[in-house]
Symmetry: C2
Subunit: 351 residues, 2 copies
DNA sequence: TTGAAAGCGATACCAC
DNA sequence: GTGGTATCGCTTTCAA
């Protein structure tokens, strides 16, 4: 390898052009130190910088200051459409503060996620947004803690004292369950998310608590956790439930992708939605209003989630603020996939 | 601001641990220069590096070598689901070469895109993937050229000699038109993409050429270009066409989002799909198989597109290869949104 | 085969 | 208020 070609326009060039020392030019261009420079000199520097199209070199700045104006994000499956609006909102909020978002997708492998944290740390990211974290002893989160890297969880909680922006998952499932109950359903099964994820656990508990509060039974075997948040996994879990739960009239799913899988399972079983069976999702990801039938689901505020997480992280980066958890309120979006149960099946009916 | 806290484990530390000079450690850790180091010393260095969990500091490396192992991507609207699989594939291919992908979303504003190029250049990205480029005199492309930054266009062509990975847009529209004609349609209108984009132009030309080749007329006003690739813009354009084109039996859309908007327009006009009117899309973005009716569309090979673009860019980065355009073959995916025209309306029927 | 030293570009101290 | 200078961590040329 050869010696690098010199950057076109650097601070020194700007300083020469303005007839000042590089130190002075640096001070004049930094809003925080500008007051240390005489007005005319500062003016000449800024003019020269603008004229030459000067931009501080990020690598040099990063090396010297230890910060990169880069924030990393870890998501499990960028293909999951629910992340698009969340990340877009986070990126926009970060951009307002001069930060760029570096998205990495380690999939569902926690060790790989921890490896990515190390790589991002080597790139000197100022902080991380984690959408991958599992509930206990997550390696990626541990890697952040070990390095003193500010981290904020998105749509996941990671235990006591870990900053996070989440939707109220228990309340969300309660909305879905009460909606189904109000339609007359009594035999409701739950397609759950992966147990090690906070969303999987909380939504399952939310389902069970809401059922109990309504005096509805949840027989053993009426809850089936999918192995991952995916359409195929949702179909597998829903198929099991359809075979196992006599007289089930509704499937409350922990996630929209699982609900799409439930659609597949119902279709294969010859059950029309919502005539024969109702299905609800969770997240209100893009396009679920266009499927047939349009999915009744629990809307989490994607944009707000991304924005709040970004702001929380920036607060931690700038002020080292401790920053607890933010819990956002979900809402129910009633569409076409839920309706009254078939006559005679709403109560403890026969098979 | 204070002086930064020293990085935990740096090259010097590794060298000390191995009992060699930092230069030697550097050589021992770089595969390209390892042969210059005596085997036992090299072994000690690698062992020490592994034991301490050493990672070279990206900022320092970047500053010294001029390369960052970072590649930028510019997309117009990260929320557009078609980009998710493309970017995921590109990121995976780049990761194999040690590069990370930095995604930026300037929306539809070309000036803003050029601004982002400057910002990414200041971050010393090794190259750029551009999905935003318009057909002529694109500012972002010009900004890359001016800086000598390797760039590859994705799903867009930018004129002679600009490296690009695209689907054969003319052929794609021809697939859709021939499919509709084979079903018996003769009165087909086109919901076009924005004219300044290569996809908008090529797909429109592909539509017109295919219609001409089949001997089907395209009366004036039967082509309407949407102002942007979006659902709302598609609805607006499709509504115009429905009002303006007597006896139209099919809408061939330049893009899936436009087709979703066409669904909205047809619904508002009380036209059932495909009974009263057929609709086709282009791209086969995620989830369009789940909408009602499932969308007949032209599939572009997303993953291959992302992968090929990444490889092309890496070739340019490493070898300065000139790298022409890659044209991929689209395929037709027949689903439920296309069917035979209503009886008596397939040929030059009355209103 | 290895050590010494320069330098990428910016910033933060210390003098003046 | 301004200039000088050391320094962040690494690579690479030059000398030995």
């Amino acid at each position: 390898m050869t010696t690098p070609t010199p950057r076109s326009v650097n601070l020194r060039r700007v300083a020469d052009e303005a007839g000042v020392h590089p130190s002075t030019a640096s001070r004049a261009l930094n809003p925080a130190t500008r007051h240390l420079v005489a007005a005319p000199a500062a003016g000449r520097v800024q003019e020269a910088a603008a004229r030459l199209g000067y931009r501080p070199d990020a690598a040099a700045m990063s090396l010297r200051t230890g910060r990169s104006r880069l924030v990393g994000a870890l998501v499990p499956g960028i293909a999951n459409p629910v992340f698009a609006p969340i990340l877009a909102a986070a990126a926009a909020a970060l951009a307002e503060d001069g930060h760029a978002l570096l998205v990495a997708d380690p999939g569902d492998d926690p060790e790989r996620a921890a490896e990515f944290v190390a790589e991002l740390a080597a790139r000197r990211v100022d902080g991380l947004l984690l959408a991958t974290v599992s509930l206990r002893d997550d390696p990626a989160l541990a890697a952040c803690l070990a390095r003193g890297l500010p981290a904020v969880l998105i749509n996941r909680s990671g235990g006591e004292g870990v900053p996070a922006v989440v939707s109220d998952d228990r309340a969300g499932m309660a909305l879905a369950v009460r909606h189904l109950a109000a339609l007359g359903h009594r035999r409701i099964a739950h397609v759950g998310g992966p147990a090690p994820l906070s969303t999987g656990l909380q939504r399952r508990e939310g389902f069970e608590e809401a059922m109990a509060a309504l005096g509805l039974p949840v027989p053993p075997g009426w809850v089936e956790a999918a192995t991952a948040y995916g359409r195929a996994e949702g179909e597998a879990a829903a198929s099991l439930l359809l075979a196992r739960c006599p007289g089930v009239t509704a499937l409350a799913c922990a996630n929209d992708l699982l609900a799409l899988g439930a659609y597949d399972a119902c279709r294969r079983a010859g059950l029309r939605i919502p005539a024969a069976i109702s299905v609800t999702g969770h997240n209100d990801m893009p396009l679920v209003d266009m499927i047939e039938p349009p999915l009744t689901t629990v809307r989490i505020p994607h944009e707000e989630m991304g924005r709040r997480a970004a702001r929380l992280l920036l607060d931690r980066i700038h002020q080292g603020a401790p920053a607890g958890a933010v819990v956002l309120a979900p809402t129910l979006v009633e569409r076409g996939s839920s309706g009254p149960p078939r006559a005679g099946e709403g109560d403890a009916g026969s098979l």
